[in-house]
């Protein structure tokens, strides 16, 4: 199978087959035409020969019959010299038979009662005895001889032979030889013109067969002669002679064509026709080889008008076509031989010429395997193959160059992709991703989720707690991909940096805007929402920069009413405004980017705010109000809505639940000090008492002391500038969970938490003398929180109670 396929696929094979086919076709057509022509010429030639032969035969027969006629007429002319005597008449008869070899017997038939001495009939006859070759005399007149009764009434002789000679119908010799005979009769007349006798010459017709046999053009030709009474004078089957009616035979044994032929012959026409087995020349029991006369026979026929005979002979068509058939056969042998030779030669030559191509193909396969430097076959000719080889060499060179370039490019691309992956990882690592983020806290639960549309996205969310304030933000950078991700990273850093020292969201936003709008050449902008939730009080301030309004899920689902402002980075010097609201416990603040509401399904329908609210409402009715279930429900709803559609935009959600619970205050002490650092010992005493009643040990008591001293001294120093008097009120409260110190003053607005932290790793020379105070407070307390409430600075310090005090 494989080899056969290879053969079929080879150009040499296909071309050879094609050429052999075409050449074979042309030669066959030409050969057939040639054979046809030869055949035609042959048939024409045979036809001409046959006609000529037929004409000759007819002439020979006619001549010999004419000779008989002439002899009989001549004898008749001088018959009166002998005929009047019953003995002398034999001389006449002897002379006639002697001088004509075709005449077998001669009879003089006298009129009835011509010689009364001889009775009614007197018919002296002379015949050539075939046995002895001696002339015999006989008298055949009288009833004992058939002769007188040949034609029912002997009168016929006188009636038929009245004018001149008459050829009777052929008959069989009455003698033992039973040869076909025919008789020519001539009347002998007296001076008054009356007929006194008839001179009859019997002609043996055996020579007719001899003549025709000699004249027949082919050895396998069949011959026959038919008389005017439709009897055979001559036939290949001698038993048919003068015993079978030719027309009847044709009707019985032949086909329609042979009947027609017979009818034409009996109309004494001349011609030829072709047919299968005409019965008048072919019989079942002739003595010739049958296989030579099968098939079509061409029958030639012509009349001998003198005696009204029709001579015909047949030629087997096969015999005629033997030569052209032989020619055809030898031509076929020659053609086949030639085609085989041409095929072999052609195959060899093409194969020889294509050999370099095969070598070239082998080289190509090597190149395809990656071996670009494989040597190409050497081709010495200057033909197309050489041209191909040269082109191929050029291709090889450029291919190796190209592949080299491709490798470099691919490597670059791969490194870019891995960098992109790293970028994505970095971006994701910027986002808070440990949930719950504040497991130690019981007042806040947060969960966030960012699903980028591309590897790196432009969405952002972040949150952190500083000084008992939750700073959170959500934003969407215009555009997607790396540029958006870069801006996102910058935005996030800005948020972290600015919110580390600013507690008011509108100030955070304003500063971020200044930073982003400065030299914003790429015209990127960020829609953003920054909120600050004061955890002790539940007071929330939110500043919106063109972002989607958050959803508030309390007892019901509602959108917050806040100013839109403008997106960050669009315009500098914009004063952002913020709104304030109190968040009741258990309320969930749900923040999202437009990737949620504008999530598209396959028909480009959008998820929309309505569906989002429905998800929140369902959660409410199912009484499962947690940030986790809200986010999960939202995520499932969006996924179900979007189906198989590709995510078109980054999708970010942030859910914050305020879970502060009210606790009973177990201990409350209060102390009011004047604005004087010399009162610090009183503060120490106050703290000692508080710590003692809470069962704190020495070490913890010292820490509380230190923290309170630093905080209060800070307030005394900075809230009240030099020379300004005022009070500082200190309240200590403790419940089951924590101890809280609230330091309240009526001085200038002063947020100690906004002070920058000190670097504890600096050397002696670099280390500033001051700034340690607030740092120590942060270190020693769990949280520090500043609020400006009703024109007063309110600073809150908290310390978690590790063990339940007695």
């Amino acid at each position: 199978m494989g080899i056969r396929n290879r053969m079929n696929d080879s150009v040499a094979f296909r071309t050879t087959i094609f050429v052999v086919f075409v050449v074979g076709l042309i030669l066959s057509v030409f050969g057939l035409w040639q054979v046809h022509q030869v055949r035609k010429v042959m048939v024409d030639e045979v036809h001409r020969q046959a006609n000529r032969s037929m004409d000759g035969t007819i002439k020979v027969i006619d001549d010999r019959i004419s000779d008989v006629e002439t002899a009989v007429h001549t004898a008749a002319a001088y018959a009166d010299l002998f005929a009047f005597d019953d003995k002398d008449c034999y001389h006449l008869l002897e002379r006639l038979i002697t001088h004509n070899e075709d005449i077998a017997a001669v009879t003089l038939l006298y009129r009835e009662n011509y010689f009364p001495s001889h009775g009614r009939y007197y018919a002296p006859t002379v015949y050539d005895d075939p046995a002895t070759k001696v002339l015999q005399h006989d008298e055949i007149g009288g009833p004992e001889h058939d002769f007188c009764y040949l034609e029912t009434d002997s009168n016929w002789i006188y009636t038929n032979v009245k004018e001149s000679g008459y050829w009777c119908l052929p008959y069989l010799d009455s003698m033992s030889t039973k040869r076909p005979m025919v008789t020519y009769s001539v009347p002998l007349k007296e001076a008054d013109g009356s007929i006194y006798a008839v001179l009859c010459a019997d002609v043996d017709l055996m020579w007719v067969k001899t003549i025709i046999d000699e004249a027949k053009p082919y050895p396998y030709s069949r011959v026959s002669v038919i008389s005017r009474d439709e009897q055979f004078i001559c036939h290949p089957d001698s038993s048919c002679i003068l015993s079978v009616n030719a027309l009847q035979l044709a009707r019985e044994k032949g086909n329609r064509k042979s009947v027609e032929l017979m009818q034409r012959m009996l109309r004494w026409e001349k011609g030829s026709d072709t047919m299968l087995a005409p019965p008048h020349v072919l019989t079942d029991n002739d003595d010739m080889p049958k296989d030579e006369v099968t098939g079509n026979q061409i029958v030639y026929f012509a009349p001998v008008e003198r005696v009204m005979w029709s001579v015909s002979f047949s030629i087997p068509e096969r015999e005629i076509l033997k030569t052209p058939d032989q020619l055809q056969r030898s031509m076929i042998y020659f053609l086949v031989l030639m085609l085989v030779l041409v095929a072999l030669l052609l195959f060899f030559v093409i194969h020889l010429h294509l050999r370099p191509l095969k070598l070239l193909a082998d080289s190509t396969r090597e190149i395809a395997k990656g071996n670009f430097y494989v040597p190409l076959p050497v081709i010495t000719t200057r033909d197309e193959v050489r041209h191909l080889r040269d082109s191929f060499e050029e291709m090889q060179v450029s291919l190796s160059r190209y592949v080299h370039e491709l490798k470099t490019t691919t490597a670059m691309k791969a490194s870019m992709e891995s960098e992109l992956k790293v970028a994505s990882d970095i971006q994701m690592s910027m986002l808070p991703k440990t949930f719950p983020p504040y497991p130690e806290r019981d007042d806040i639960e947060i969960i966030g989720q960012l699903t980028p549309a591309k590897a790196v996205g432009g969405d952002i969310y972040d949150f952190h707690i500083r000084d008992e304030k939750l700073f959170f933000c959500i934003g969407d950078v215009s555009g997607k991909g790396i540029p958006a991700a870069l801006v996102m990273a910058v935005t996030r850093s800005l948020f972290r940096t600015i919110s580390a020292r600013e507690a008011a969201p509108e100030r955070v936003m304003t500063q971020m805007n200044e930073a982003l709008a400065d030299q914003n050449e790429s015209n990127m902008f960020v829609t953003m929402l920054v909120g600050v939730l004061d955890l002790p009080t539940g007071r929330m301030r939110i500043c919106n920069a063109g972002h989607n309004v958050p959803l508030i899920v309390s007892e019901e689902v509602s959108s917050m009413t806040i100013d839109s402002n403008i997106p960050l980075g669009v315009m500098s010097d914009w004063r952002f405004t913020s709104q304030e609201t109190f968040v009741s416990p258990q309320t969930i603040i749900f923040l999202y980017t437009d990737g949620l509401t504008e999530a598209e399904d396959l028909e480009h329908g959008q998820f929309g705010e309505q569906r989002m609210k429905e998800v929140a409402l369902r959660m409410l009715t199912e009484n499962d109000k947690t940030p986790n279930s809200l986010l999960e429900g939202m995520d499932n709803a969006v996924k179900a809505f979007v189906g198989d559609a590709e995510q078109s935009d980054d999708l970010t959600m942030l859910a914050i639940q305020y879970t502060k619970e009210h606790r009973d205050v177990r201990l409350r002490r209060e102390l009011t000090l004047p604005n004087d650092v010399q009162t610090v010992p009183q503060l120490a005493q106050f703290v000692d008492e508080v710590c003692e009643s809470l069962g704190f040990d020495m070490s913890l008591t010292m820490q509380m002391n230190l923290a309170l001293e630093e905080a209060v001294v800070n307030v005394m120093t900075y809230a009240y500038p030099k020379g300004l008097a005022g009070d500082v009120n200190i309240v200590a409260e403790a419940n089951d969970v924590r101890l809280k110190f609230t330091i309240i003053d009526s001085g200038l607005p002063f947020d100690p938490t906004a002070k920058e932290e000190i670097d504890t790793t600096l050397s002696v020379e670099e280390r500033p003398i001051g700034g340690l105070g607030i740092f120590l407070v942060r270190e020693l307390m769990d949280s520090i929180n500043y609020e400006r409430i009703d024109g007063k600075n309110v600073l809150t310090l908290r310390k978690k109670l590790t063990a339940i005090p007695q």
Binding site: L706, E709, E710, V713, T761, V764, G770, L772, F775, L776
Partner: protein, 101 residues
């Protein structure tokens, strides 16, 4: 709060007793003046009787160290209790001073 300064084995020794808080700091700063002015002698800050120190006190200690360092004077702290030492650790000052038992 009581601050005593004396010489011992060629070193300046300052002994602190009681609470070094913001209220006591100004007086203590006055008492520590000799430490700032001295030259060529190592300084030993004896804290074995010190109960408490706030950032004001830390500032004084740092001031001594800052003036001593250019003069090649070593400042040692001795006898400091664990709680105070913890404060030093928190603020990173523990890396700047040399502690002695």
């Amino acid at each position: 709060m009581k601050t005593t300064i004396y010489e011992k084995d060629g070193s300046m020794v300052a002994v602190f007793e009681g609470r070094l808080d913001t209220a006591a700091a100004p007086q203590c700063e006055q008492d520590m003046k000799p430490l700032i002015d001295c030259a060529g002698r190592d300084i030993v800050l004896d804290c074995s009787a010190l109960d408490y120190i706030s950032s004001s006190g830390l500032r004084l200690f740092l001031g001594v160290l800052k003036s001593a360092k250019p003069k090649g004077v070593h400042v040692f702290i001795t006898g400091m209790n664990a709680d105070l030492r913890n404060v030093f650790a928190m603020t990173g000052l523990i890396n700047l001073f040399e502690f002695k038992e």
